[in-house]
């Protein structure tokens, strides 16, 4: 981008910004070191006895459930998102309208509200309604519907990034629209959207913590709720620190993966 009004050269400006950022960082660290009560920090955030009590359930139950909730919602979101994206690009106006409304609604609603509707609204409105796999099914659908709205927009951008000539070449070979989409356009779009969809997976990992609003048992609990409950029991934040670390164990490598994929695609251009 050109900035005609900038008086500094871009490089110089960047240098100043970096120096300022480091200064703020150093001040913040100094502040923490000087003003924190390190004894209390050790006791309330890194208490080994409390930490020992969190194992193994923090992994065998909480982490496992977080992974199940996330992945199942991801699969649901992927499928619905792709369908909604194709509807959004359809030549049939009704499909386009439905897709647009879907995206606007589920992208606009906080995931928390969707969970509340699934937890309290739907059971009242449809008394007989039971999701397969109970809690797991409910989460997969509720979180999946939210994820689908974001994924649909990602898929749409990916499909539109495929050159028009690809569809035309496929059609001129006699392929019907749906077949051309399935065999030619979508496979190429998927490659483009892998990095943003991996980002979406990271977001979902964190959003799966909202499952608590549905009410969870000892068997269906997930990382945040598990850590929170344990923290309340011991009046000590160590379990939360552990739960946080578990998220990072998953999300940091995923973030690394995204950067690798993006760099690779950047080179392929």
């Amino acid at each position: 981008m050109t900035q005609p009004r900038a008086r500094m050269s871009p490089r110089k400006r960047k240098l100043y910004v970096q120096v300022a950022a480091y200064a703020v960082f150093v001040l913040a660290v100094l502040g923490l070191v000087l003003f924190a009560d390190w004894g209390a920090v050790g006791e309330y955030f890194l208490d080994l006895d409390v930490a020992a009590n969190a194992f193994p359930k923090i992994i065998t139950v909480a982490l496992k459930n977080t992974v199940i909730y996330t992945l199942s919602a991801y699969v649901v979101g992927f499928v619905i998102g792709l369908v909604v994206a194709l509807m959004r690009l359809s030549s049939i106006a009704v499909y386009r309208a439905v897709a647009l409304v879907y995206i606007e609604v589920f992208r606009g609603l906080p995931a928390l509200v969707v969970f509340l509707i699934f937890g309290f609204g739907l059971p009242v409105a449809f008394p007989g309604l039971v999701f397969p796999f109970e809690q797991y099914g409910t989460v997969a659908v509720a979180l999946g519907l939210v994820a689908a709205a974001y994924m649909a927009e990602t898929f749409r951008a990916g499909i539109q990034a495929v050159p028009k000539g690809q569809m035309e070449a496929a059609r001129s070979l006699g392929m019907p629209y749906t077949r051309a989409m399935r065999s030619i356009v979508v496979p190429q779009a998927l490659r483009v959207v892998i990095p943003p969809l991996t980002n979406e997976l990271i977001l979902l990992f964190k959003d799966s913590s909202l499952v608590f609003v549905l009410g969870v048992t000892a068997f269906t609990t997930e990382l945040s709720k598990f850590g929170g409950d344990l923290a309340a029991t011991y009046a000590d934040s160590t379990p939360l620190v552990l739960a946080g670390a578990m998220y990072l164990v998953i999300t940091v490598p995923l973030g690394y993966l995204v950067r690798r994929l993006e760099a690779k695609q950047g080179r392929a251009r």
Binding site: P163, G165, Q166, E168, A169, A170, R171, S172, L173, G174, M175, P176, R179, S183, I184, P187, Q188, R191
Partner: protein
């Protein structure tokens, strides 16, 4: 003998812009017809109307006795008899050369793998690329990609082949190999409708040349006549520009 292609009274507009203003043209079986004309005159649009990539507002396109523009016609089925080669090749980058040639055979014509591979290999042979069947398009030169694109269209056994400036996106040294393939197709009796700026090709290979300007066919006739001895002022002007690109009037 029924003509291979009959275009009658064709009109096409994009919004307020009328691009084709009533085109009439015929291609006989086995004939090579070249379409020439200045940029923006509607050559690509005409070609794209012949396989309904663009739908004309008015007029008809009849291929081998079937009116493609009739609203009851199954457009996907109709397109099978018309092969198209694009300026930008438009090979499928995620598929190998062989898969590029077989995917439509298998999904559209319902050919089995062995049959489709057989047809594909025959056509790769025909364009001189038999040994590249396992390559991905990105690994090929532009000329090779365009030859694969021609083989891909041929693999559907079309009765008519459309070419939209097939050599315009190529480096000059790669043009010859593509024109050679097109020449051999013409020699084999393929019916071809070719939009091109290659006047020598038009003169030597075309049975008929159509000069378009401003959405009209201004002049048409045997290649020697239209290119060698044009009657209309606009044709003369266009040809003098194309044949002497450095000449400034």
């Amino acid at each position: 003998m029924t003509p291979a292609v009959v275009i009658s009274g064709l009109h096409k507009r994009f919004g307020d812009l009328e691009v084709l203003k009533g085109i009439d043209a015929e291609v006989q079986p086995g004939e090579v017809v070249c379409v020439i004309g200045p940029s923006g005159s509607g050559k690509s649009t005409l070609l794209r109307c012949v396989n309904l990539l663009e739908v004309p507002e008015e007029g008809t396109v009849v291929v081998n006795g079937v009116e493609l523009t009739h609203r009851d016609v199954d457009i996907d089925a109709a397109r099978r008899s018309v092969g198209m080669v694009f300026q930008q090749f438009n090979l499928f980058p995620h598929l190998t050369v062989l898969e590029n040639l077989t995917i439509a055979q298998r999904t559209v014509l319902g050919r089995g793998k062995a049959a489709a591979d057989g047809v594909a290999r025959e056509n790769l042979e025909r364009v001189g690329l038999a040994e590249r069947e396992g390559s991905y398009p990105a690994k090929l030169s532009g000329g090779q990609q365009q030859r694969v694109a021609i083989a891909r269209a041929l693999s559907m056994d079309p009765q008519v082949m459309l070419f939209d400036e097939p050599t315009s996106a190529l480096d000059p040294e790669l043009v010859g190999e593509v024109l050679a393939v097109m020449r051999s197709l013409a020699d084999d009796g393929m019916t071809m409708l070719v939009v091109t700026h290659e006047m020598q090709f038009a003169r030597e290979v075309a049975d008929k040349v159509l000069f378009m300007d401003g959405g009209h066919v201004v002049e048409q006739g045997p290649a020697a006549q239209v290119v060698g001895d044009p009657q209309h002022e606009r044709t003369k002007l266009f040809l003098s520009r194309v044949l002497n690109p450095n000449h400034l009037e």
